[in-house]
């Protein structure tokens, strides 16, 4: 009985679906109206600026517990005072007088005090509120420039092994600030493989011949540090 009811219900649902579809298709048949659209760059306005942190105000009000009833107060012990040895006289640490006009010198000292071989944390930390959100258009701009200049060594065997990454710093005018550096994994491969070395050199030539890069100066903070990942796999056979 239950089975028959279930079958009937399913058949009903399927029939309703067909009925609805037919109507839907009629509607879709109509051509959609053309809406003219102006493309504007909105990155400047919508992008996320560095977040201003509100400092939390410390709670200054001192909470004083009510006095415990006498019966719950801990018992008092009397301990005989120990005779302490006389403390050795140490020269007092030299206290530097703080000079409000000489903060820079103070900061310099502070840096010099850091150990020389200290490990530096990864610089490539993606931060929220650091204008790192709207970079897709910058990426496209850089791609369209570097595509013109990159002539990878096509015809080499195993192109999947010839991917190289370069990190470079750009000046505000789009020129290359200092020689681009291979990322550590690329550098290791380049040292051992002549094809990889040729691939890396072709990538470096592309970086130089394309400079200066034409990028929006007001967003310099987003593109002064660029990592190019050159992947010749799609170019093979051309």
């Amino acid at each position: 009985m239950g089975l028959v009811g279930s079958l009937a219900l399913h058949a009903g649902i399927i029939a309703v679906t067909f009925f609805t579809w037919a109507h839907k298709l009629d509607i879709i048949d109509q051509a959609s109206p053309i809406v003219p659209v102006d493309l504007v760059t909105v990155g400047d306005k919508t992008n996320v600026a560095p977040m201003v942190k509100e400092e939390l105000q410390p709670i200054v009000e001192q909470l004083t517990p009510p006095p415990l009833p006498v019966s719950l107060q801990p018992p008092k012990f009397e301990v005989a005072p120990e005779t302490k040895p006389a403390p050795v006289q140490m020269p007092a640490p030299k206290q530097e007088a703080f000079d409000i006009n000489n903060i820079q010198a103070m900061l310099n000292k502070r840096q010099a005090a850091a150990p020389k071989n200290a490990r530096v944390g990864s610089r490539n930390v993606k931060g929220i509120g650091d204008q790192s959100a709207m970079t897709a258009d910058l990426r496209t701009m850089l791609q369209s420039e570097i595509y013109r200049c990159w002539s990878p060594p096509v015809g080499a065997p195993h192109p999947e092994n010839l991917i190289v990454s370069y990190e470079l710093f750009l000046n505000r005018d789009g020129s290359v600030a200092q020689p681009p550096q291979l990322t550590s994994d690329s550098a290791a491969a380049v040292a051992s493989d002549p094809y990889m070395r040729a691939s890396a050199e072709a990538a470096r030539r592309a970086i130089y011949t394309c400079a200066p890069y034409k990028l929006p100066a007001d967003r310099y903070s987003q593109w002064h540090d660029v990592t190019f990942v050159f992947d010749p796999r799609d170019m093979m056979g051309q």
Binding site: L107, V125, D130, R139, L142, P157, E201, Y208
Partner: protein
């Protein structure tokens, strides 16, 4: 209290100034394949008598690199600087202005003992550093080979793979009317220079192949009316019939170590593949099929052989182990496929595909990745440059207007006619000359 407050302020300002911005990561997976612009001024002559050599060497290097399709030697007329001393770091800015990315400077000097000393340096114009510096001594008559060796060195430094300019090509030179065609065995430099005829055209010659030292050629000839495989020693000019078989032998090719020749032997209308050890002259049969098995070619490691066979009904390409075991078909594309040649790099097999014309194709040794490289009216018989990067083949011109040798890059680009004296066919590329 004031000090503490200030210390907090300093700490906060330090934290705020620490670089927290991420590097902008850009994937570059499209490019613009362009030959590398390179400036090669005439080489500096130590004495007025060396000027011609300096100009000629630079000219051959420019021509070699240009022919490869990977370099664009710039017109010397555009040069701003004149190189007068190759031991001084060039003014890179003046070479960047003319868009040069590489710069080759060289000098030529005749030594007191009569030999020619050639120095050259390859510079990275943007990196402002020397990439290569080499020196050669040679007899003055050898200047052309020195130029080719320099081209090879530059090619290798820039592309990462060995060059192919210091090589030779053996081919069949054709001359005379169509009904009385003279076919002579000939050899020339890779750029078409120094052609030499090895036979006088008194009998038909076909399918010449170099051995790995480029000193010996195996070929098929009808010396006394019977087609047989012969060996030709380039140094002594001596010819020798290979083996004493009752029937036709043809389609010879050396093993990568040069110690064996693999070829076809015909018996009663059935061709099979045999291998002969040149040291012991012992012969082993590799195929036993009733079909026609021919055009064998070793893999560069000598462990496998590719060949063509019609055992499946139509001419197709097969691979077997060097001892004849594990024979299996690898070509399953359209049309008929023949004359397979294994790339010296090992990664590809080139072949002739007959499907609405004859064209040169390549595929991987497992039969995948079939790709057309040339589509002339009738292109056939590919041969690899020793670096596995370029191929030559025979192109027959439509309407019985003769045959020519052409070359094409493994990417299918840079198709060029190879300079030959008159009509030519059946090229075979030598290894790099030792």
């Amino acid at each position: 209290m004031r000090k503490v407050g200030l210390a907090v302020a300093v700490a906060l300002s330090l934290a705020a100034s620490s670089p927290a911005l991420a590097a902008l990561k850009v994937d570059v997976n499209q490019g613009n394949i362009q030959p590398l612009p390179v400036a090669i001024p005439d080489f500096v002559a130590a004495a007025p008598g060396d000027e011609a050599a300096g100009q000629n060497i630079a000219k051959v290097v420019r021509a070699d690199l240009n022919r490869s399709g990977l370099f664009n030697p710039l017109d010397p007329k555009s040069f701003i600087d004149k190189v007068t001393n190759i031991n001084v770091v060039p003014s890179f800015a003046n070479w960047r202005i003319i868009t040069a990315q590489g710069l080759v400077t060289g000098s030529v000097a005749t030594q007191p003992d009569g030999r020619l000393r050639v120095d050259f340096r390859l510079w990275d114009v943007y990196g402002e550093s020397q990439m290569l510096g080499l020196q050669y001594f040679t007899q003055p008559a050898n200047w052309r080979r020195i130029a080719h060796m320099m081209s090879d060195a530059i090619y290798q430094r820039i592309t990462g793979e060995k060059g192919y300019f210091d090589t030779r090509v053996v081919f069949i030179s054709e001359s005379g009317p169509a009904l009385n065609r003279k076919k002579r065995l000939a050899v020339m430099d890779e750029d078409g220079a120094n052609p030499i005829f090895l036979t006088n055209g008194g009998y038909l010659v076909l399918t010449p192949r170099f051995n790995p030292t480029a000193q010996m050629i195996a070929y098929m000839s009808y010396v006394v009316g019977k087609p047989r495989v012969y060996l030709f020693d380039l140094e002594s000019g001596r010819q020798e019939k290979l083996g004493d078989f009752p029937n036709m032998t043809f389609s010879p090719r050396f093993s990568p170590d040069g110690n064996k020749v693999v070829m076809s032997l015909e018996q009663g209308g059935n061709s099979d593949i045999y291998v002969m050890d040149l040291r012991t002259r012992a012969v082993a049969r590799l195929t036993y099929d009733p079909g026609i098995d021919t055009s064998p070619s070793y893999s560069p490691d000598g462990k496998e052989i590719t060949f063509e066979s019609d055992r499946g009904g139509s001419q197709q390409i097969y691979v077997m182990n060097a001892d004849g075991s594990n024979q299996h078909r690898i070509s399953f594309g359209e049309g008929r496929n023949g004359t397979p040649v294994w790339s010296p790099r090992g990664d590809l097999i080139a072949f002739t595909k007959q499907a609405g014309g004859f064209h040169i194709w390549i595929m991987r040794p497992d039969g995948t990745g079939e790709r057309m490289l040339s589509n002339g009216w009738e292109d056939e018989g590919p041969t690899w440059a020793p670096n596995g990067r370029v191929l030559m083949f025979t192109r027959t011109i439509q309407g019985g207007r003769g045959s020519q040798i052409w070359s094409v890059d493994v990417t299918g680009h840079n198709e060029r006619r190879v300079a030959t004296p008159g009509d030519a066919s059946d090229p075979a590329w030598s290894p790099l000359i030792q």
